[in-house]
Amino acid sequence: MRHEVRFSGFGGQGIILSAVILGRAAVMYDGNYAVQTQVYGPEARGGASMSSVIIDDAPILYPKVRDPDILVIMSQEGFEKYGANAAESAFMILDSSLVRSRPRCRYLGIPATTEAKNTLGREIVANIVMLGALVRATGIVREESLEKAILDSVPKGTESLNVRAMKRGMELASGEKGQ
């Protein structure tokens, strides 16, 4: 059941936090194994940021992602740097409000940033919208596990906003058909 998930966007979108939340859901609430790594450099401040999670039901030895089967892409630069060469068998969720390109692989476009801004009133929860859509579309962790991991990870006072963002992402993923 090994999945390699890669997140990319620009610094400040919560790309690393998204990976940490997904890994936490898998380990703490689904009882699986996960490792999380990231590109950790100055380019992450505004440039293309990338982080990865491997989820498996067995211990994970080599900790780096080699061939992601799931990609979450939240910026055009992130797409060009980390998404454009995705395998044809992969599955991508992209923020259709920010990413112009479309991949060769199966994908789902979610207007996460527009939704976060207009429907939820805070652009900063776009990554949580994407996480909700990811989990609804792939079932990579249980939805209740994701919710618990989000509540563990977000600042006090923002819990209901983040849960609404997650649920909005799930609704959008249910409504959209993958292409």
Binding site: V27, Y33, A34, V35, Q36, T37, L61, Y62, P63, K64
Partner: protein
């Protein structure tokens, strides 16, 4: 949990009550976590003005009986070298964490390396010995961080946790034990001279404030602790003992893992490259590939190499140009193949398989 956080938590579980440091990538999360956690446990966290002061404060705290620690990376590690020698000479138990990044100099702040392995052994001037551990998982960041304090207290030496950026910043599943094993620092018996060694070559510890009159100096000293810097016999006895108290116990201190001891081609690793080798062994389950993984690198346990009697090559993937490979060469007639990979990336399982195929 992140590796650096696990390192801090392991230290806290071991009873570390003092941390002095200066933030530096990629070790900073250790200081951040200690700053948040130590004061709540009644401990002391100090952000010092630099790394020279950090290690000096750690040495002072250790003499009050505290389990004391600092954490840094390459450039800060270089700055600590003078007082690391002072800790070795004064037999001060302390723990120094180095989350290794690319060097020399400021090098690659955010990228992984293992190029300080010789510096931790020999970086300060003069002859001395130390102990160095090398974790390959977040779990081992916790366990070996805790164990470092036991070794420091037992042998009264600076002990190094020589991790790399990949393990320091990795987040993965960890099982936190209810408690960790603890070795007490042997106290100085009443009436004994403060630097008179026991049968184990280690003197009892005359903790400051416990009523002993003790003089602590980096100068060559006699068993009273008094400077005695021109007597060749006193110097030779002291320095031989500083080295022998560790080196004579190296097979007891040794901590390594052996997989497939009948193999002819054997990987030898420490730190993050072990993860790549474990993947290769998992993908090739026919037991023809051996793996020797050091959890303690210094003192070098050369007997470990003899766990593989059929070895016809030792392959050594390291994030440096072959620092431990050179040490391995000193102890075996079996060919040693250096597999350097530096610049920050981890060896891929594919490149390790290619190295095996080149020898087939």
């Amino acid at each position: 949990m992140q590796g650096n956080v696990a390192c801090a938590e392991g230290a806290l579980a071991a009873g570390c009550s003092f941390f002095a440091g200066y933030p530096i990538t990629p070790s900073t999360e250790i200081a951040e976590h200690m700053a948040a956690r130590l004061p709540k446990k009644g401990g002391v966290f100090i952000q010092m003005e630099d790394e020279l002061a950090s290690i000096a404060a750690v040495i002072g705290a250790a003499w009050t009986g505290a389990r004391a620690m600092t954490a840094t990376s390459g450039p800060g590690f270089s700055l600590m070298m003078e007082n690391i020698g002072f800790a070795a000479m004064t037999e001060t138990p302390c723990v120094i964490v180095n989350i290794q990044r690319g060097g020399p100099s400021t090098g690659q702040p955010t990228m992984s390396a293992q190029a300080d392995m010789m510096q931790c052994r020999f970086g300060s001037h003069g002859d001395y010995s130390i102990i160095a551990l090398s974790p390959a998982s977040v779990q081992e960041m916790y366990e070996l961080s805790a164990e470092a304090f036991n070794l420091a207290d037992r042998f009264r030496v600076p002990v190094f946790l020589m991790a790399d950026e990949i393990i320091g910043h990795l987040r993965e599943r960890i099982e936190i034990p209810d408690s960790v094993p603890k070795t007490e620092r042997k106290p100085l018996p009443p009436g004994e001279l403060p630097f008179h060694p026991g049968d184990d070559l280690v003197p009892g510890f005359p903790r400051f404030g416990a009523g002993h009159g003790v003089h602590v100096t980096g100068l060559t000293h006699d068993e009273r602790g008094y400077p005695c810097a021109t007597n060749p016999r006193v110097h030779e006895e002291l320095v031989r003992r500083l080295v022998e108290k560790v080196e004579s116990k190296r097979h007891e201190i040794a901590d390594y893992r052996v997989t497939n001891p009948d193999a002819e081609l054997v990987f030898v690793t420490y730190g993050s490259p072990a993860r790549s080798v474990e993947q290769v062994l998992h993908d090739n389950p026919e037991k023809t590939i051996g793996h020797l993984r050091f959890r303690i690198v210094w003192p070098f346990p050369e007997n470990a190499l003899r766990e593989f009697p059929n070895a016809r090559a030792f392959l050594v993937p390291e994030q440096n140009l072959g620092q431990m490979a050179r040490e391995i060469e000193r102890h075996t007639t079996v060919p040693v193949i250096r597999l350097p990979r530096f610049g920050g990336a981890l060896h891929t399982p594919e490149e390790l398989v290619a190295a095996l195929e080149a020898l087939a």
